[in-house]
Amino acid sequence: MIETGIIKLDDYLMGGIPNGKSLIYYTHPGVEGNVFGMQTLYHNLAAGMKCVFVASSSDPTMIIDTFKEFGWNLETYRENLIIVDAYSGLVGATSNEKYIVGDPENIDSLNETIEKVIEELDDKSVIMFESLSTIMDLCGEQKTLDAIKNWNTYGMLYEHVLIYNFTAWPYEPETLEHIKHNLFDAVITIGGIAERVIFGQYFGVLKAEWSDVKLKSMLFRVLRPGGIRIYIPKIVVTGPFDAGKSTFVHALSTRAVSVDRIGTTVALDHGHVDYKGFSADIFGTPGQERFDPIIKMLSGEAMGIFLVVDSTNTKDFVRAKQMLEITKAYGLPLVIIANKQDKSDALKPEEIRKHFNIPDSVKILPAIADKGVGVFEAFESLVNKITEVA
């Protein structure tokens, strides 16, 4: 089994891709899907695996540069990386690679080289095709489909994992259907959405023969450097006056601004968090009742809610519950932050729970926001809830 190296996708796939299986990243045009195969390749190189990169749209130097944009240095692992050069032959360039496809426009020439590589690999390896679409454009749809069948059979025999990057240009409908449903053991679809106001890119598992995890699509964004991050466009931080919401947003964020006047938030806090493969935008609300219209407005389209309470201030718990109504938090992923745990009269999370009529599945976590204590634990807990794999 190898990992894809893409957060949450490995959970969907129940750990990753078993040896001998094939997986295609099926990308709709206009979406940044190529980075998926690249990230999987790099993740396995870094894990010490032997990897093969079948280059059909760029030469080896360009490939190394493209990986570098993401902060991935292929040269570090060069002895474990075989580049099958199916590009230089197209532009009449010379190549220093060991495996060169003489005529990239001829599927037999490509086929021959790939078979040879597979036979000569002495370990179970990861073989990644830079662009199946380019191969189809050069060699024809039907011929490529036949070749894929052959490569996947070879992969199965030698227990390699085969990864394909593919962009679903308007090919014959039967070709696309065949790719989506028959040819591969797993199909990851990558697309774009313009749903309500949030525009985003998502990925989802269309099929994975070895996994019975339910399909759920995930928003992502691509960072340079960094690669794929699960993207959470809006997490709302709410809670009564002076509970420590703004402090919490700042403690969590790599970058944050607050519209505070005379020590209180009059508009909002906004911060951006990049943590453990998650990229999230955080919106802190004011706490005082006169700002309720703003609180309501800010909490629209939230994907999850933090309710921050001052653990010493029980009389504000009623207001806290009211704020859960205002932000329509019931039904959304919710984590309650029992803040100001450094104070001697702070109630413990279990004691705070008695004041709230919430299901046990809602966590109440201790924090000292102004020292940054507990804030990332809380973040992880909430994003895991938001992205829970069913």
Binding site: D260, R261, A267, Q288, R290
Partner: protein
């Protein structure tokens, strides 16, 4: 303290004399109503109005300073029934006026600036 309020009210009343101005409000930066010459029927709504004015000006100030464009002199909101103008009046307060739809802004802005300067000195 009543003296202060009386002085502020005088400033508001003077502002109201400017052609086109319907009412004027002084709000603390954190969104509390300090004083207004709203018609009394509107007084309950004045609280929300005060808070949202502080929100608007605060958000506008942060938006422009984040871009390195300095602090805005004022926020002008034009609606179907008139205009709303919010301007900073020192670090503690802001001054908001509501005008008629057809009010000319030139004179109003000059008078607002003078009033804001006075408020700043009093608070």
């Amino acid at each position: 303290m009543t003296d202060t309020i009386n002085m502020l009210n005088k400033i508001l009343d003077d502002t109201k004399k400017v052609g086109g101005v319907e009412s004027a409000v002084i709000v603390s930066r954190d969104g509390l109503l300090i004083t207004s010459n709203f018609p009394s029927s509107d007084s309950t709504r004045a609280e929300t109005f005060a808070a949202m004015s502080a929100t608007m000006l605060g958000a506008a100030e942060t938006a422009t300073t984040e871009l390195g464009k300095g602090t805005p002199d004022r926020v002008i909101v034009e609606s179907e029934h008139g205009k709303l103008i919010a301007t900073g009046a020192g670090p503690k307060a802001l001054l908001v006026v509501l005008t008629k739809l057809d009010a000319g802004l030139g004179l109003i802005l000059v008078e607002l600036e003078k009033a804001a300067e006075k408020i700043k000195k009093i608070l």
